[in-house]
Amino acid sequence: MSAETKKPKVGVYVCHCGTNISHTVDVEQVRDWAEKTLGAEGVVISRDYKFMCSSLGQELIEKDIKEMGLDRVVVAACSPHLHEMTFRGASKRAGLNPYLTELASIREQVSWVHTDKEVATEKAKAVVAGAVERVVQNEPLEDIRVPIHPDTLVVGGGIAGIQAALEIANAGFKVYLVEREPSIGGHMAQFDKTFPTLDCAACILTPRMFEAGMHPNIELLTWSEVTNVAGYVGNFTVTIKKKPRYVIEELCTGCGICVEKCPKKVVDDVYEAGLGYRKVVYTPFAQAVPKYPVIDAPNCTYFQKGTCKACEKFCPTNAIDFNQKEEFINVEVGNIILATGYDLFDARRVSNYGYGRLANVFTSIEFERMCNAAGPTSGNIVLRDGKTQPKSVGIIHCVGSRDKNYNNYCSSICCMQSLKFAHLVKERTGATVYDFYIDMRTPMKAYDEFYQRVMDEGTLFVRGKVAQVTNAARNEHEEGKLIIQVEDTLAGKQRRIPVDMVVLSTGMEPRHDAKETSHLFGIGCSSDGWFTEKHPKLDPISTMTEGIMIAGTATGPKDIPASVAQGAAAAARVLDKILQKEVVLEPIKASVNQEQCSGCRICNGLCPYNAILFHEDRMVSEINPALCQGCGTCVAACPAGAINGTGFSNAQILAQIDGLLMDVNLAGA
């Protein structure tokens, strides 16, 4: 290609990957071919090895670089997403710039996806030729090092977010904990008991909430939401909207007189799941952190009619301020942890189970509130009339989960949640309990023991997917009852079981706004809406976006112990980055050759990060390397070819095309 420069010396290393590659690709043939046919392109040595990524394989490369003076390396092996770092490291150790090394993926893209050995071997040659042509055009690059801002943003104050914030704060670093509701706590704050140990949710959660609220290193921003994220790992600028509380936090003592005096009650759809009421000025629950109430403006008589102001009159410290406006603040952080949790599946969607139509069909979260001593029924398990104790209760698993019509996945906690409910009903009412399950999934520590305990307590288990819940009685036993129609797959027959109360174990769903959140932070999410991990097994708390971690149920259904563990793991990853003080970034950036730029400004509007600025005086564009993320869109657009994109330059890609099509042209010649 570039005849004027001195001829490159390329080494090609073809990996067998045990037999992963060699069972469909004739590795020796590729090796010989590379040395013979690609000699003209600069290949001076070609070797094959059982496992190139092993230390012996890497030493092979290092030795050749040192002894033969190789200035380019191609490793034909697995995907660069797996071992690019490994082989760049080998080159670096031997004194070669790591960016002069290319990985040709002949495993993921050849041996694993094709079957005909002859054809696969030919394709492997083409892939190798592409990499060789490309590597010749590679330029030596230096990693970019950027300092890491030591502050961290945690979004979502459920148990996962609280845990993450505490870990980082306890290590001595500042955390902004942003929560959209008036209090932190998340779903766990709504529960009564927690499986499998049955400890009281508030008893274990409140101390954590309190600690987070009081911690000198945690700045709590509740009733707030992130509206913009700019920058990149180490240096994010985040805009946070603080919604008006209409209560001046500095003056409020949390005495609760305003709540007491407020004359208006509304149904509490969030915390009480629609089962109870709250005042218009309220704290969601007694142990709320922070303790300051908020005024629910759309429902407030003053905001509706201009009169009332009862809260203002009675507040002993004059903390009520009806003129508060929403406020936007900017914070600088180095890392971000997203722990935004889950939403509950809407049980109305399974219309054959009657929720919303049949009064005594309850959802799991309603049932949790009902069991809670501080809840709307003071912990009494009663029918919708608020007083009658049920004599029989049916609990239905997998509502909205493991069902092609709703969600295909298993919500993972519903089996245990149902068993917990069965136990609570037995304990508090002595009612007969029927538990309808498809499969019983109790795999974690002490879970199956809990299942056995609930069996011993006398809960009746019916294996089968419930077809419907109806109030259409067929005989006098069924009169006035809810009838559960199910195929008992163990007994092999259809059954109709009349009960007084039905509890639907509704599954977890991604937050309704999970997709918007993922776009706001620039991370991936599955088509369902769960945030995507960098690696599902080996890196479940990182994302593809450097500096943004994920924890808890935002990545998929899980229980409290797993959410807490992820919160702590994400925090450890953040601390690791903070302590490294700087982060190394791949030098993939665009830059404008000012001599060549005609000032057409075509590139200016293309950059989503506003990295391209235009110098009116000199009529040329320039790219701010700190803002450029290296997508290459401007590079492709510049009609003057004035923009160079390192790592993916025109020369590299055009050369790779030549290499990939070399055989076509050789055959045609």
Binding site: S79, E108, C631, A636, V664
Partner: protein, 156 residues
């Protein structure tokens, strides 16, 4: 090998989605037609239409362009820019007398190994039906198009 026409196709993939879908297809041992050779870009927005022209001119019978689903681009919205260029490029190809169906744009997320596999197989069949393009044989050494006859005369 069989007698049927085996097209050669260049596929452009995005580092964050379709390249990973290809990795996933590999890890899951899904099988697809070996006619496609992939190039990794950081984003579909990097796709300079010149690359497509170059591929066709150098002997590819078709070009597959892949990127993240609309709204899922790692760089916010650059795949929309790729879409715009793609639509324009098809018109240019048509004007040049090349079937625009030789170039196809497909969205595939990192999780869609199966979708990518199916799309590749479909596209290979589509190009097989169109037959060879052979544009590389219609070019002179300097890259300029020449009359097919002239080539033959020179060769003779």
């Amino acid at each position: 090998m069989s007698e049927q026409f085996e097209p050669v196709i260049i596929g452009f993939t995005c580092n964050w989605c379709s390249y990973r879908a290809a990795d996933l297809a590999g890890t899951a041992r899904m099988k697809y037609a070996p006619n496609v050779r992939l190039i990794r870009l950081m984003c579909s927005g990097r796709l300079d239409p010149t690359f497509v022209m170059k591929a066709l001119a150098t002997g590819a019978d078709g070009v597959l362009i892949t990127g993240c689903h609309p709204g899922e681009c790692h760089y916010v919205e650059q795949n929309y820019k790729a879409l715009r260029r793609y639509l324009l490029l098809r018109r240019v190809l048509k004007g040049m007398g090349i079937a625009p169906e030789r170039v196809k744009l497909v969205w595939a997320s990192a999780a869609e190994g199966t979708k990518l596999t199916n799309e590749i197989n479909t596209f290979v069949e589509e190009i097989r039906a169109l037959g060879p393009l052979g544009w590389n044989k219609k070019l002179a050494g300097n890259g300029h198009a020449v009359e097919e006859l002239a080539v033959e005369e020179v060769a003779a």
